[in-house]
Amino acid sequence: MKSSSLLSPGLVKSGLRRYWPLWLAGFVALLLLVVLPAYVSVPMIIGEAGSPADRESALDFFWSTMSFQAWIYALVSALVVALTLNDHLFDSRAATFVGSLPLRRTTVFASTFASGMLVLVALPAVTSLCLMPLCLALGQVFSPMRVMEWFALAVTLGFVFYSFAQLSCHASGTRLVATLIYGVIGFLAICIEAAARLLMSALVYGLSSDEIAFDWLAPGAHILSTLTLRYPDRGIAWMELAPYVLVACSAAAAAAWLFGRRELESAGDGVLFEPLRKALKCLAGISLALLFASVYRLLDVTSAFSGLPIGTGDLLVIAVLLAVGAFLGVLFADMIMSRSTHVLKSCWREGLAVTCVMLAFLGACRVDLLRVGRYVPKSDEVEMVILTCDHVSDSIEITSPEGIEDTRALQQHLIDYGGISDMKTDLTFTIDVSYKLKNGRFVHRSYPIVTNFPIAFEGEGHEGPDSQLLREFAGIADGDEGRAARFSKVLELKDNASVQIEYLLEDGSYSSVSLHGAEATDFVQNVLLTDLMEERAGEILYEMTSSEDMAEYDAVVYVDDLMESKAAGYEVYTESLQLSEGTPHILAWLEEHHPEIKLIEVDYDG
């Protein structure tokens, strides 16, 4: 080997060869996490899927799970590999040995880094190869491209976390402190990433984050949605990898810089750079505080605050968790770095300071200091709004000035309402408001509405803000544009389609008639859908589902189900269609064909 070589093949080989049992264990972990589930689940998914769309959806979910597995694997394995291969940073004898070898520090660093990366590339590569027989067996259904995308994701995440781990190892002289630093760096990276995404949203897309302010305090909840890559229709978003690679390169460069400056004899020292000690304590406090705060979602304590205004329970719980986490974080970090448990006297002031900072941060989020949550675009900026409410309606596109103004008013009322959910109450609806602005940007907000179902729908005796907001949404959804969006599609019946009409007899029992072929088509397209399109099939949707006494309301079908099921090629089901003056086509048809029917349930089997 030439003295000037950047890599020492001998050192690389030595690292790879010595720890082969560890690498084998890593491979076994990947077999269990990825290969085994793939061979078990994928054929099952394909076998059970009723339609290509269903199959795609299930496979998307499968790959999303695999992405999460890759994330967990990279997080853990990167640290293990770095701690293992960097003996010379933690053991003074190893430091002396490596220091006396005829190698430059850059060579030692590059060789160690390369050894680790080889492991972190080779194991996912072999795993991907193990998935190839499944691809060959299932053909295009289980695309090799998807496997390659998973491989790219695993390697990229491995690179990111390995760089973080190397940086952590080079900033400390013990494995414990290195692990602490790794945790802090990784955790903060996630927070910083979330912040960067929000900022980018604000600057580029016009504050398009759909996260409410409180989610900033729950980075644990962000992890899944932010660090696993999405699989859009045309494959992986390759460009999404670029920032991660850039961050990883920066972390690796910082680690190399630290190694060039550190004293080899410092192996065994807790923290090598004195300024890092205080910073690390504070960062550990912040990290643990945020981690604790994210736990509030798991705690069933908010019901204890049900008598208080909405969001108060969350606020109190988060404040306590933040304070405890901040103080403990500082305390533990000091213990680890000074290798002593007698640290309370020396660090209580720092603990208190970090606690105060975190509580101030909580206050800033609570009052929406950045005005992210309170942003409502001006009417003349808006080209179109897409309004959605889960459990109730599909997307409704609104372009009329009146509709846009109504939506803005609804959003303002939603903001005033609070937008913070007590997770354990009866039912949470989420209203999504997505503006497409005339300048091409998008603004997207989600607002949870907590209601006490079914009281909210009974109307009388309950006119709380939740009920009013839902009625306001229903008013927009039931307007001309909303109705057109909901009922614009016409069912295309197959030749062998049938419609089952169940009806209630006067004695309380049910009977039914079946329609086939042309008669079924005629009923659905010319009778049922006509009444729906002309707003003759009832009032607003949720009223139909809420009441024990259906006779109070006009009837309506489950339009959501009708549309979704049609797309999926499944059975279309409508329930409890109350005949009334509002359904003239149905009434006329039934009078002509089945005059005995008073209350029907319609099953369409497509």
């Binding site: 040995f97 220091g99 190698l103 004899e265």
Partner: protein, 294 residues
């Protein structure tokens, strides 16, 4: 061969080396002695290029050694507690050294481990401490270094192995003019092999001389005087003195002839010059009689 000038190194507030100077001639065997914590190992690690000096310079063959692979290729360092990679076998260490040291002789290594009956397929951690030390020597000598740095090289070796190891080192010195810098507490053995000695104390090089000069510069003498003048005469640079009855035992700086002549001249009734070991010189020179480990 090795030139250390004004070397300073501090660990926090502790000054391990303080403007230390040292000069080692090519082909010489230089013994480094000093009490615990004097800075010997720190000095060796600087010469090995492990540590970065705070100030001063360390030149080997006229070139700075720190961050210089070219210089380190011609050196081998055997610390008191040699490090072997975890899980490594003897053959793994051979392969690593062969890939890093261009002058590493695989055949030479194999012949050396054969001498010590070391199995190349054995895991290093399964070897005894003494066998690991032997392996470290084998690796170092197989590198055919111009400079061999040894820190407490004979610790943990049985007498046979000590003899064998020292024999191999002496062979290299004789055949290739290899320079050896050795630090040891075992001054008797050091005296057997060294031709130069440096005494380090509190980070300073307080004495640096050839062994011959060193031993010629100190005299241990038993002397008795007449009862009426039973005091040690002035004019002697006495490092140590003891008295048993009328018999004085003195360790004095100076040559044997000069000291003997002076004592006779001062009325000594009995003068007997005794041989002085390196260990005694070390103890009396640094005033370190309290260093009981010696």
């Amino acid at each position: 061969m090795i030139q250390v000038s004004g070397l300073c190194k501090a660990f926090g507030e502790v000054r391990a080396l303080d403007r230390l100077n040292m000069h080692v001639e090519p082909g010489s065997i230089y013994g480094l002695v000093g009490p615990n914590g004097a800075g010997k190992t720190t000095l060796l690690q600087h010469v090995a290029g492990v540590m970065r000096p705070d100030a001063g310079s360390v030149l080997v063959g006229g070139e700075p050694v720190f961050e210089s692979p070219q210089v380190k290729e011609r050196m081998a360092y055997v610390p008191s507690d040699f490090y072997f990679f975890h899980q490594a076998r003897v053959s793994d260490m051979r392969a690593l050294h062969a890939s890093l040291f261009p002058r590493f002789g695989v055949e030479r290594f194999d012949s050396l481990i054969k001498t010590y009956e070391l199995d190349p397929s054995r895991q290093v951690r399964s070897l005894s401490k003494g066998m690991q030390k032997q392996l470290a020597f084998c690796l170092a000598l197989a590198c055919s270094p111009d400079v061999l740095l040894l820190d407490e090289p004979l610790d943990g070796l049985d007498p046979m192995a000590r003899h064998s190891v020292l024999g191999h080192v002496m062979e290299e010195v004789a055949s290739r003019q290899m320079t050896v810098l050795v630090s040891s507490h075992n001054l008797r053995e050091l005296a057997d092999i060294c031709d130069h000695v440096g005494i380090v104390q509190e980070g300073h090089m307080c004495l640096e001389r050839s062994l011959e000069d060193l031993q010629g510069g100190f005299v241990k003498v038993q002397v008795a005087f007449a009862p009426e003048s039973d005091t040690v005469p002035t004019g002697l640079d006495v490092l140590h003195q003891e008295k048993q009855g009328r018999l004085h035992t003195l360790v004095v700086r100076g040559t044997a002839d000069a000291v003997e002549g002076l004592l006779t001249q001062q009325g000594a009734t009995f003068v007997n010059v005794l041989p002085l070991s390196l260990e005694e010189i070390f103890i009396y020179e640094i005033g370190g009689a309290q260093h009981e480990e010696l």
